[in-house]
Structures are given as C-alpha cells and as structure tokens.
C-alpha cells in the first residue's frame, strides 16, 4: 500500500493555471475523491498523478519517492477511464492479461490472476467475450478488474460512472466502494457528482478553479463547509443573515428563525453580522399557530417521492428551502410555521 503526497503541484495551459499550486497527502489505503465542477482542475490533477501530463511545478511522491520524472508505464498505477478504454480487439481475458504481460509475468501466473480478478468483479463466465458484447456495467467492471489485476500501488478513477444510467450508477457506487475496502488500495476518485464523492470516500477534496477549496470527511464538507462556494456546491443550502450575540459566555447567532449557538471554535465578535448555513432538512414545518414557530407562506411544494421540497417566504421577504420526509402536507399559498432544528449554526462568512 502506498501513501501519496502532492506538493505545490502546478499545471498551466497558456496563461491559465489548470492546477494552481495544490498540496495534498493521502494516507495508505485511503479513498479520496476530488470533487468539483468541470474545469476545476480535478481531472488534470489525476492526469498529473498518472503521468499523462507533465507538471510545470511541484512534486508527486509515492511512499516518499518522487515519481514526477517517470512516464505513466513506470508509475505502477491502475487507472479506470470515463470511457473505460477497454481494448476492443481483445477479449475480456486478454484485456486483463495485458498489464501482466507488460510485467513479464509467467503464463500460469497470468491465468491464475486473471481468473481471480474476474471472480472479484463477478464476471467469471465472460473471459472470452469481447468488450462490445458486454453491457455498460459489465464493461465498467472489466475496466476495474484490468486496473486491479496488476496489483498497482494506487488506483485512479476518472469519472468512471458518468456514462452509466442512474440505477446502474447507484449499484456501481456501492460495488466500487466495497471493492476498494476489500482490496485496501489507496484510491483517488475524480467526480463532479457530490453523491458519489460523499458515499464512497474517506476524504473529499473540493476543488474550484485549480485550487483546493476544502478537504475533509464527507460530513465535514456537508456540515462545516468553509465558504459559500463549497456550501452551495454540496447539496442544497439556505443562508440566513445572523447577528452575533453573547449568552452566558457563549457566542450566539440571532436569525429570523431563532437564536442558536455558534460553534465554540468560531472567532466572530459580538455585534457582527454574518451568514449562517441552514440545510433544508434542518427545518421542520408545523401549523402556523404552533408556539415557538416562525410563520411563513408556502411558495412552492415539489414532491420527490422520499421527501417534499418547499420554498417558504418569511415575513421579512427572505425565502428558505425546506425538505420534509414524505408527501406534501402543505399546499401553495398556505401559512405555515417553521422550526429550526439545528445546533450549532455554522457561520459561512461575514455579511460585510
């Protein structure tokens, strides 16, 4: 198993920096997602780690060894491409054997390891098929098996689920996560899909414009985003304007939906005005007359099966987004009560 360290990595295309001096360390066996919108530099970073592109500055270390000068074939990586890139002129077994042949493994070893890898991705009956004879999900599993059969130091995945339909995508998400834990290989996963990143990763790295905006556990990223951009990119977000007050020595945020404590590590000062993050599922709806609830009017109610999403207009004309489980219980134009079930409130930035 391998520890990956990226130091001040920079890649420019013309004047623009696709990757702008990023540093990142990934421990042995960790599953790290690079998450961000298209053009944020996540794929370029992966290509630099793989060796398909040369960095303009910075270093990439595998277990302390600088691999930057090495071509891809000498980095000992396993890579899964968005298009799968299965060799169409080779059978599944030949695709899997390719990497082992390059490593000059004896025939018996190749046969044994190919069989084991096919077993691992549950494709044992398909060894002699050609890629085009397989379904998208099966091709995806062949691509995974081909990357893993060489027992690489690290596994790189470049948007591997982007070409699958929604149902298969959920299935493969579980499959890849499980497989990675079983094999225990250090993994870098590039995606623009926050659900993929949140589900599978130990750590999520959110990238914008060639820089790392935040790195943390999926929960950190969702509950404690370090800025407006991360907060809006991951899930739905309401931002409430809040005034900082003090109550028995604790910093509090006074909002239209009530006063709640700020996290103890907050460095806000009393009297300051800032934005706080309120996720839609942290709000509950009651009857407008319920005691302690803030009143508002339903502007929009969208039923999604598992939950209903409301847009509620408050008395001060601010709107908030609310998610409640189950079908819609309040229709458009009706007055409702809002309750904030969140403690502490996470500050996003000052409202200056």
């Amino acid at each position: 198993m391998t520890e990956v360290v990226i130091q001040d990595l920079t890649k420019r295309y013309g004047a623009a920096a696709a990757v702008d001096s990023i540093s990142l360390s990934i421990s042995e066996g960790e599953f790290v997602s690079l998450l961000g919108p298209s053009g944020c530099g996540k794929s370029t970073t992966l290509r630099l780690v793989a060796g398909f592109d040369q960095a303009d500055a910075g270093k990439i270390l595998f277990d302390g060894q600088d691999v930057s000068p090495l071509p891809p074939e000498r980095r000992d990586i396993g890579m899964v491409f968005q298009s799968y890139a299965l060799f169409p002129h080779m059978t599944v077994a030949q695709n899997l054997a390719f990497g082992l042949q390059m490593r000059k493994a004896p025939r018996a070893v190749i046969e044994e390891r190919v069989a084991r890898a096919l077993d691992l991705v549950r494709l044992d009956g398909k060894a002699d098929r050609y890629p085009r004879e397989l379904s998208g999900g099966q091709q995806q599993r062949v691509a995974l098996a081909r990357a893993l059969v060489i027992e690489p130091r690290i596994l790189l995945l470049d948007e591997p689920l982007a070409n699958l339909d929604a149902k298969l995508r959920d299935e493969m998400r579980l499959f890849i996560g499980e497989l990675q834990r079983r094999v225990g290989i250090t993994t870098i996963y590039v995606t623009h899909d926050q659900a993929e990143a949140m589900n599978m990763s130990d750590q999520v790295v959110v990238m914008f414009k060639g820089r790392i905006e935040q790195r943390g556990s999926p929960r950190d990223i969702y509950e404690r985003p370090n800025g407006l951009e991360v907060a809006t990119f991951i899930g739905q977000a309401n931002f409430l304007s809040a005034t900082v007050t003090v109550d028995t020595g604790r910093l509090m945020a006074q909002t239209a939906l009530g006063t709640r404590p700020l996290p103890p590590e907050s460095d806000a000062s009393p009297g300051q005005v800032l934005s706080v993050l309120v996720r839609p599922e942290a709000l509950t709806l009651t009857d407008s007359a319920a005691p302690g609830a803030v009143s508002g009017v339903v502007e929009l109610a969208q039923y999604n099966g598992a939950f209903t999403e409301y847009r509620i207009r408050l008395a001060d004309q601010e709107t908030v987004c609310v998610q409640t489980p189950g079908p819609a219980r309040h229709s458009r134009g009706v007055g409702v009560g809002l309750r904030l079930a969140m403690d502490p409130l996470w500050p996003i930035g000052s409202d200056a």
Binding site: F52, E73, M79, F87, P88, H89, F98, M102
Partner: protein, 278 residues
C-alpha cells in the same frame, strides 16, 4: 416491388449502366476477332488472350506496372501514416491549414501535378540546375524518364488517398485506449504496436488498396514522368486501343492487368485481417 428495392433502384441503375455494362462489353470485345472494317469483328476467339499471355514483352510490362504499384503503395503508407497521425491527433489552430496542405494534391488536376514534377525532376529542371549551380555535380542526375521519377510523382499524386482513410480511423480511436495501455505498463512503442496499430489496420488496408489500384491503372503520370522509357501496361493499352486501333487486343490487355491486380489485392486482403475482431 418493395419499397426498399425501389429506393435502391437509382443507385442500381447508375451502377448497371456506368459500370456493369461497360465492363461486360469490354469482356465481350476481348473475345472478338480483329476486323479490317471496324473496331472488331463478329465471332469469338481466345487469340487475343493467347497473344497477351504468351508474350514475354507484355509480362514484363505487367510486372513493371505492379512493381511500381507496390513500391508506390509502400512509400505512400510510410509517408502517409505519420501525416495522418499528425492530422488526427494534433489539434490546435494550425490543424485546418495542415489538413488543407496534406489534401491539396486533390485540388489540382492530375495532369498539372504531373507536369509540376517534370519541372522539378527534368534533366534541365529545378533540381538538376540547382545541383549544377551549387557545384555538386557537372553531369545530369537522372531523376526523370525512369522508375524513380514515376514513383515519386505517383506517390505524391495518390498520397491523399492513403492519408484520408488512416486519418479517419485514427480520429475515431479513443486516445484513452493508448493511455490505458501506458497505465498498464506499456512503453509508447508497445502501446502503439499492441493497441493503436491493430485498431487502425482497417484504414491502412483501405488506403493501400486505393493507392495500389489507382497506381496500376495510372496513365498520365507514368507517361509524362516516364517519357515512354518506363512502359506500364495502361500506356500499352491506350496505344493498342487508339494508335493501333486494335480494340480486342487492347481489351484483353486491360483485363489481364485487372486480373493480376485483383489477384494481388485478394492475396493482400487474405494476409491482413480486415477487421480486428476475430
């Protein structure tokens, strides 16, 4: 008549009237006897074929034609593949310009292009004069009126027919395939040999077939650059048909050449897999 057959009718008519019937006619003529008062007489005879097949003179010409065809095809492949690669892979601002330059031989008529080469390669042409002016040689370098000149000009004239199909398959080829090969431990050379080359064989094959066919049937270029000193079969066919006015013999000559070329193509197709699957 079903709708499908009806839709095929226009193309079928064109093919029948412009290709099938003329060919059938040539085959018929090749078996006719010579006639003193017309292009050919009535009746059937194999004499024309006997004349062609038993003549060492014709066999030499057929061999010259095919030899020139094979060498030109090989040269065009050697020169055309890297160009096709560059045009397919290296995008950027100059791509359109590079494409236009590579395909420009198609824009100018074959006669003009061939004359262009005579200006360059002639005994008193640009290259010879330059060589003399620079003092490299005092004698004439024989660049024309030999196989060398014919092959150089033919390669240039037909190069786009090699570039286009290869460029087509290379463009269709997912660059990730090669990268996948590299990620699995293949050097650039191995990735090319094991992945790129097998996958672009269909394009190489059609390019070779086209250039070979065009070359062995070329008339203008070998005539201008060979100056009657390099005798290829199409030149003989034309002079038999027009100068000697012996249609039956000319038809037989043409068909024997076609047959030889066809046999070589069949052998070529057998030796190279048409498709990479199975």
């Amino acid at each position: 008549m079903s709708r499908r057959l009806l839709l095929m009718l226009p193309a079928a008519l064109v093919l029948i009237f412009l290709i099938v019937l003329p060919y059938a006619n040539i085959i018929v003529i090749s078996f006719r006897p010579l006639s003193p008062d017309g292009a050919y007489g009535q009746g059937f005879t194999a004499a024309n074929y006997v004349t062609v097949l038993t003549s060492a003179h014709y066999w030499r010409q057929i061999w010259t034609t095919i030899w020139i065809g094979l060498v030109t095809t090989a040269l065009a492949l050697l020169l055309g593949f890297p160009v096709a690669w560059d045009l397919a892979r290296n995008r950027g601002r100059s791509q359109a310009l590079r494409r236009a330059i590579a395909l420009s031989p198609l824009l100018v008529g074959i006669v003009v292009r061939s004359y262009g080469w005579t200006i360059l390669l002639g005994n008193n042409g640009v290259i010879n004069r330059l060589a003399r002016a620079l003092g490299l040689t005092q004698s004439i370098i024989p660049l024309m009126y030999n196989r060398f000149g014919v092959i150089v000009a033919l390669t240039h004239v037909f190069l786009p027919f090699m570039i286009l199909p290869i460029m087509g398959v290379l463009q269709e080829l997912d660059p990730a395939l090669e990268q996948a090969g590299r990620s699995l431990g293949a050097s650039p050379r191995t990735a090319f040999r094991r992945i790129v080359l097998p996958l672009c064989l269909p394009g190489v094959q059609s390019g070779c077939v086209m250039v070979f066919i065009l070359t062995i049937s070329a008339y203008v270029t070998p005539m201008l650059l060979g100056g009657m000193r390099v005798k290829t079969m199409p030149m003989t066919v034309v002079s038999t048909l027009i100068d000697a006015f012996r249609w039956p013999l000319g038809a037989a000559q043409a068909l024997v050449l076609s047959l030889c070329g066809g046999l070589i193509l069949i052998a070529f197709m057998r030796l190279t897999p048409m498709r990479w699957n199975r």
